[in-house]
């Protein structure tokens, strides 16, 4: 049995935000979304809130929608399994589907939500990395109204997100897929594929019509250090390459390795994570170029 707390169900994100602020400063009011991580923290007495505000049933936070002009919008309380099983996602963002298919076991995916995952800001997980690679935005509401944070800037450190006091995640949006673009997600685990990752890498490339030259590149590494890292020097190297089929992937991976922090954790020592990441960066580059339609050597 663990500590006692009060429980309330919020009817809207604004109401939840107001309740959070009432308890602000003492850390005694917390939001519960899917609860997959939070309930364990309560049981272990790592967190001891006096009040939980449940936002999981707020209808405005629950849908997945798509239109060709604005792209994909996922409500923050959409579960991992709903993202994985969404036909819209499967059709337009196969790499997103892949990343969500391997978050924890089926029971975790049944209950856990995209917004809860981001707010929890645990380094060893899939969503922040794939969302950053797809150019996603995180939409928030709070005491000062709404604001939008790029997914690549959302995770600030270990269990630290960009959320300010009283803010709630409303949705995550992803721009519509562009012609001549591809994205790949690679995850390395020590045990089953749904285990927490040793390293995750996502690569997005948009090229010219000949699929030779990259016009836009996002190379993102996660699960190795405290946050998600976009490797801009490595991206520049990809953009400077004249023929993607002949991209020097080893060089790109080497340049990228200077752009992220690596730390020891339960999923491997730092030196090991570095080796694994080097390897899956090369794999992800190859897979992305190949899915553009340029078979790389």
């Amino acid at each position: 049995m663990y500590n006692r707390f009060e429980y309330e169900r919020a009817q809207s994100a604004e109401e939840a935000s107001a309740k959070l602020l009432e308890g602000e400063g003492d850390g005694e009011t917390m939001v519960i979304a899917g609860g997959t991580a939070l309930v364990i923290m309560l049981k272990e007495k790592i967190l001891t809130p006096k009040r939980l505000v449940d936002i999981s049933q707020i209808a405005d936070l629950r849908g997945v929608s798509y239109d060709d002009a604005r792209g994909l919008s996922i409500g923050s309380m959409v579960t991992h399994l709903e993202v994985e099983n969404s036909p819209i996602v499967a059709r337009n963002y196969p790499s997103l589907r892949e990343a969500f298919h391997t978050i924890g076991n089926v029971r975790v995916r049944t209950v856990g939500t995209i917004g809860g995952n981001l707010a929890y800001a645990e380094p060893q997980c899939n969503p922040p990395t794939i969302l950053a690679a797809l150019g996603a935005s995180v939409h928030l509401t709070g005491p000062n109204g709404g604001r939008v944070v790029p997914a690549e800037d959302f995770i600030k450190g270990i269990f630290e997100s960009a959320l300010e006091p009283g803010e709630i995640i409303v949705s995550v949006t992803i721009p519509p897929p562009q012609p001549f673009s591809a994205c790949s997600f690679f995850k390395f685990t020590q045990k089953s594929e749904t285990d927490k990752p040793t390293s995750v890498v996502a690569v997005y490339i948009r090229s010219d019509q000949e699929k030779r030259k990259a016009l836009e590149v996002r190379l993102v590494v996660g699960a190795v250090g405290p946050r998600t890292y976009r490797c801009s020097k490595a991206e520049d190297l990809v953009k400077r390459c004249d023929d993607l089929a002949r991209l020097d992937r080893a060089k790109v991976a080497q340049v990228a390795s200077e752009e992220f922090e690596v730390m020891d954790d339960l999923y491997g020592p730092a030196w090991y994570k570095k080796c694994v990441t080097d390897s899956i960066i090369r794999d992800a580059l190859k897979a992305t170029v190949d899915s553009l339609g340029r078979e790389s050597a």
Partner: protein, 171 residues
């Protein structure tokens, strides 16, 4: 502060007064005295406490009971009907898919959600079963018998459905 909740467990309606920190597992085992659902790891990783909530598998040890208000819960006790065990239970026995039995009710409830959600026309592959069941741990059997039992039960249920005539409503 205690809360009133109403839910159905194995088809029976219950109204209960609970504290917000009660887990669904504690509700099932201690308040409703249904001991078939087990607690092992207590952190949602082993699957021994798997129950079905509104058709989907959940780790009862990590669910707040208060969030099951208004829902429909199925536990292992629901599976046998009028003295006859469920094909999945029978397949576990026939395949020796357990030794100590502690993980078994979770394995069966998890397996049931896979079978219920799968197409009947196509056999479940070993890879599909292993992937789906990756969050259920067994320290006795080495898993092969469990995987075989789930695949076999899926086939048997599909066969049985095929033999049943489709009901037609005549006005």
């Amino acid at each position: 502060m205690s809360h009133q909740i109403a839910l159905r467990v194995n088809g029976r309606r219950h109204r209960l007064e609970i504290d917000a920190n009660l887990t669904l597992l504690e509700l099932i085992r201690d308040r409703l005295d249904l001991k078939g659902t087990k607690e092992v790891c207590g952190i949602g990783e082993c699957g021994a406490c798997t129950v079905i909530k509104d058709g989907k598998p959940v780790s009862a040890c990590c669910e707040l009971a208060i969030r099951a208000d208004g829902s429909e819960i199925e536990t292992i006790e629901r599976l046998a009907r009028s003295g006859e065990i469920h094909p999945l239970q029978k397949a576990f026995i026939d395949n020796s898919a357990f030794q100590c039995g502690f993980c078994t009710s979770g394995m069966i409830m998890m397996g049931k959600t896979l079978i219920d959600a799968s197409e009947q026309a196509k056999d479940l592959t070993e890879a599909e079963v292993r992937n789906y069941m990756s969050g259920n741990l067994c320290r006795c059997t080495g898993y092969q018998q469990i995987v075989d039992a789930i695949r076999r039960a899926h086939r048997e249920i599909a066969e049985k459905k095929k033999q049943q005539p489709v009901m037609t409503v005549v006005a």
